[in-house]
């Protein structure tokens, strides 16, 4: 019975670990980009600008804000062929302009809509593989939950990011079990476990006191 349980845990540790490993790599590699604000360009860094006109803007656009504004802008952006996650929309009341950031992992687009002329200037910048990983690492993040996750794919990414976190928790707990079964390694393991705990709690204490 114990042998069967051990094998089950060992197989789950292996297969779930393999499944989650690309996600773990994305999160781990992007740490270097975020901690050092360094985005190496693996791909093109092209920036393009185009202009569209004759946009069909909702009549009440200027009265909307937050999620209703994003929902109202979605068909407009679709018509202008700008897919992606819409960020915080700036409304320049005097200039009658809306500045809309739209993100697809690896690409950032700024759409400036002129409400009076019903035209828009669309500036697209490729941020490459590193940019994509940094975007995914921070998505959805803690800010502005009311407006975030307005694009299906980033909503799906949140489920995957959550799944990765749950899998890391499972893999670490199952890893403890697999280590503990190895009697010869217990002493070294306990020393490392203690050293790791001391490092984390020591650092956290010093930083917060």
């Amino acid at each position: 019975m114990r042998g069967r349980f051990y094998r089950l845990i060992r197989d789950l540790h292996l297969y779930l670990g393999l499944f989650s490993s690309p996600f773990v790599l994305v999160f781990a590699i992007s740490v270097f980009f975020l901690v050092h604000t360094w985005l190496p360009k693996f791909g093109s860094d092209a920036s393009t600008t185009r202009v569209v006109s004759g946009l069909l803007l909702p009549a009440n656009l200027q009265t909307l804000s937050g999620r209703p504004l994003i929902d109202a802008l979605k068909p407009v952006l679709e018509k202008a062929e700008v897919p992606g996650e819409v960020g915080f929309v700036q409304h320049l009341v005097k200039e009658e302009k809306l500045i809309i950031p739209v993100t697809v992992p690896g690409r950032e687009t700024i759409v400036t809509i002129n409400i009076a002329s019903r035209g828009a200037t669309i500036v697209t910048r490729e941020t490459g593989l590193a940019g994509a990983m940094a975007t995914l690492h921070r998505s959805p993040g803690e800010h502005a939950p009311a407006i975030r996750m307005n694009w299906f794919y980033l909503k799906a990414w949140r489920w995957l990011a959550d799944t990765t976190a749950y899998l890391i928790l499972f893999i670490s707990v199952s890893g403890i079990y697999l280590w503990y079964v190895l009697r010869a390694e217990r002493r070294v393991g306990f020393v490392l476990l203690f050293a790791g705990a001391l490092s984390l709690f020591g650092l956290a204490y010093v930083l917060s006191h």
Partner: protein, 229 residues
């Protein structure tokens, strides 16, 4: 019971070199040594990752449960030797007995009015200094343990969206390099696990399915979405 430290079939092969056997053994050992050392760090980042992704989870709410303390403090005039925003901020912090990472939140328009924030896990200081009157209005917000943990997840002193921010506290630097070390350790663990899996011939096919599925889904988001849309 087959244990994770037992040599694999490949290692038992007469053709296997001694070096390879040693490499396999140490790869396996280092995999769980690294895992055990990083365990609490991984739990911290996994749990706070979940909490940051779900800001509506009320049990982990920290900002609305903060404790605010307001005070008015007099400071001694900043001498001419104190130059630049960073120098002035450091001098004010020294006089107030505050340590932490400086956060520039406003653009300075009046030379006598100097507003900035100082952060460290669990503590937020909002400083409004009137340099003409040598007077500071200080708000100190203290958050709970969840707040400390969430800040630890993102506490790097820099922001990819705001080039004005730079690390100016030695402990931020220590923590930033700790995050690097955890990330490097995780990358090592992934690579060592791939090696261990490959050394198990009977698990290669199901393992390849799991790895392939994960890579396909992850690849869709990392590179695929840009091509599709």
């Amino acid at each position: 019971m087959c244990s994770a430290t037992e040599p694999t079939a490949a290692a038992n092969s007469p053709a296997a070199s001694r070096l390879r056997v040693r490499l396999e053994r140490w790869n396996r050992k280092l995999h769980y040594y690294a895992g055990l050392f990083l365990l609490f760090f991984l739990w911290l980042f996994a749990v706070t990752g979940l909490v940051l992704n779900h800001p509506t989870w009320s049990f982990a709410e920290s900002w609305s449960k903060r404790t605010d303390t307001n005070s008015e403090r007099a400071i001694t005039a900043l001498g001419p030797e104190v130059k630049g925003d960073l120098g002035q901020a450091r001098e004010i912090m020294k006089q107030l007995g505050i340590e932490g990472e400086i956060l520039w939140t406003t653009i300075r328009t009046d030379a006598n009015q100097f507003d900035f924030q100082v952060r460290r896990p669990g503590h937020y200081y909002f400083i409004k200094a009137d340099l003409a009157r040598n007077h500071v209005t200080l708000r100190h917000s203290e958050v709970n343990l969840w707040g400390v943990m969430k800040v630890l997840h993102v506490f790097s002193g820099v922001s990819i969206d705001d080039p004005r921010q730079s690390r100016d506290w030695a402990l931020t630097m220590v923590w930033a390099y700790s995050m690097d070390a955890v990330a490097a350790g995780l990358i090592f663990m992934v690579l060592s696990s791939l090696y261990m899996w490959w050394e198990l011939p009977q698990k290669r096919v199901p393992g390849a399915v799991a790895l392939g599925l994960g890579s396909l889904i992850c690849g869709l988001f990392v590179v695929g979405l840009r091509w599709l849309f």
